[in-house]
């Protein structure tokens, strides 16, 4: 289709002036959307029409306007809506929208701030909770341990106070008077238990060793670890006395008598 020829044919003028037939109108409506130059030509023609009409304007008396407004008085929107001129009511609407937009933004910011604050609180509370749970678990575990220890001690007390249990007090040797160890010897089972009432902690590389004195000869009766609680050492069948020396870790086949700490005789 030769669009320039179409535009210059006068069909647009006939359309704008209202004398085109239905076929021409339909074709034009189709072409105007396809070709922007047609749309532009229509706009230009309409501008020419408006200007020509204005040039041929014939004034009318104001009375006519009054009559018209009287005729249409019931067809106008209520006064409240029309007191504002177009630009002002539009401006009011825009301001209202801006107000709501601003209010929304402020609310959003406030909400976001509160959210951050609450989250931080939550996070801290969460950490505190976990810490508390851990503490509780520790306490429960400790509690269990204490209960076990308590039971053990109760058992030991029973043991020490049982009939047939011989108590041998082993005070400190000269030069080491402050020390004390108590030995319990079960005359039935021959088991030997030792309780270090007061004995210095063995230095590194050294360990206390128990000896049973059997007919004048010292016999190894076991190594001491931490005997602030009752320790069970080797069973002893026969002995007249017991002694403890400080040896090297692991013990010695014969006692170093210059390292004698405590000693006690078996009372018969």
């Amino acid at each position: 289709m030769d669009i320039q020829a179409y535009i210059q044919s006068g069909v647009i003028e006939s359309y704008v002036l209202g004398v085109a037939d239905a076929q021409d109108v339909a074709e034009l409506q189709r072409l105007r959307f396809e070709y922007p130059e047609v749309e532009a030509a229509i706009a230009a023609c309409e501008a020419w029409l408006a200007a020509t009409a204005r040039a041929g304007a014939v004034p009318v008396s104001d009375k006519v306007k009054e009559q018209l407004q009287h005729t249409l008085q019931n067809e106008f929107a209520p006064a409240a809506d029309t007191t504002a001129t177009n630009p002002t009511s539009l401006l009011k609407r825009m301001n209202r929208v801006r107000y709501f937009a601003a209010a929304s933004v402020i609310l959003l910011v406030a909400s976001a701030t509160i959210n951050v604050y609450l989250y931080q609180k939550y996070h801290q509370a969460s950490k505190d909770y976990i810490a508390l749970m851990n503490e509780r678990n520790t306490v429960v575990a400790d509690n269990g341990l204490y209960q076990t220890k308590l039971r053990q001690m109760q058992d030991r007390m029973q043991l020490m106070a049982a009939p047939g249990m011989l108590k041998v007090s082993m005070p400190g040797t000269p030069g080491k008077e402050g020390n004390l160890v108590t030995l319990f010897w079960d005359t039935n089972t021959k088991d030997v238990y030792v309780l270090a009432n007061k004995l210095p902690k063995a230095p590194a590389g050294k360990q206390y060793q128990l000896w049973a004195l059997v007919d004048g000869k010292p016999v190894d009766a076991g190594m001491l670890d931490d005997c602030t609680d009752l320790c069970q050492l080797k069973p002893v069948v026969k002995a007249q006395a017991f002694a403890i020396t400080l040896e090297n870790t692991g013990g010695s086949p014969t006692p170093h008598l210059d390292q004698l700490y405590v000693m006690g005789n078996v009372k018969s």
Binding site: A20, D21, E46, A50, A53
Partner: protein
């Protein structure tokens, strides 16, 4: 403006009247020369514009073009009788042939606007503008009346309108 009109705001009507009443009156007077009648037509036109504003489609063109066409057709209706333009019965066509070339209207205003321009046209162009624009005949009716092919009517009418437009370079 259109939005305001559709909202029935009186201020919009007032604006419209103030800006376009005299231009539309001029258009009306070229078809309805009697000043008393033309004023009545003008009122009728503005009432129609106000009440039919929902029918105005901005995609189809300017508001003024739409108002102009209401003015033109209302004027023709007034001259010819309301249902004349839509009437299918055109047996009076040959009778209407007589008022040709602007002679039908009592005291046509020849010295201004479109009418003046029309008078400067060649006869074969003038008659087509007269019959279609001023008297409201459809192109196929004109073809019948003048006993010429529809295609000829189309091309001649378009040429005539182009000439009219070229006369006023704004």
């Amino acid at each position: 403006m259109v939005r305001s009109l559709k909202l029935r705001e009186q201020a919009a009507f007032s604006y419209l009247y103030d800006h376009y009443s005299s231009a539309l009156h001029g258009v009306i007077q070229q078809i309805v020369p009697d000043p008393d009648v033309s004023v009545d037509v003008l009122q009728e036109v503005f009432v129609k514009i106000w009440r039919q504003i929902e029918q105005y489609d901005p995609a189809k063109g300017r508001l003024f073009t739409w108002m102009f066409n209401i003015a033109r057709t209302t004027s023709i209706d007034t001259v010819r009788g309301k249902d004349w333009r839509n009437s299918q019965k055109n047996n009076s066509l040959t009778d209407d042939l007589i008022p040709l070339a602007g002679a039908t209207q009592p005291n046509p205003i020849d010295d201004i606007g479109l009418r003046k321009m029309v008078h400067s046209l060649k006869e074969e162009h003038k008659v087509l503008v007269e019959l279609s624009y001023f008297q409201g005949y459809k192109q196929d009716e004109i073809a019948q009346m003048l006993n010429i092919p529809l295609g000829t009517v189309k091309t001649r009418l378009r040429a005539a309108l182009l000439l009219l437009r070229q006369q006023v370079k704004l």
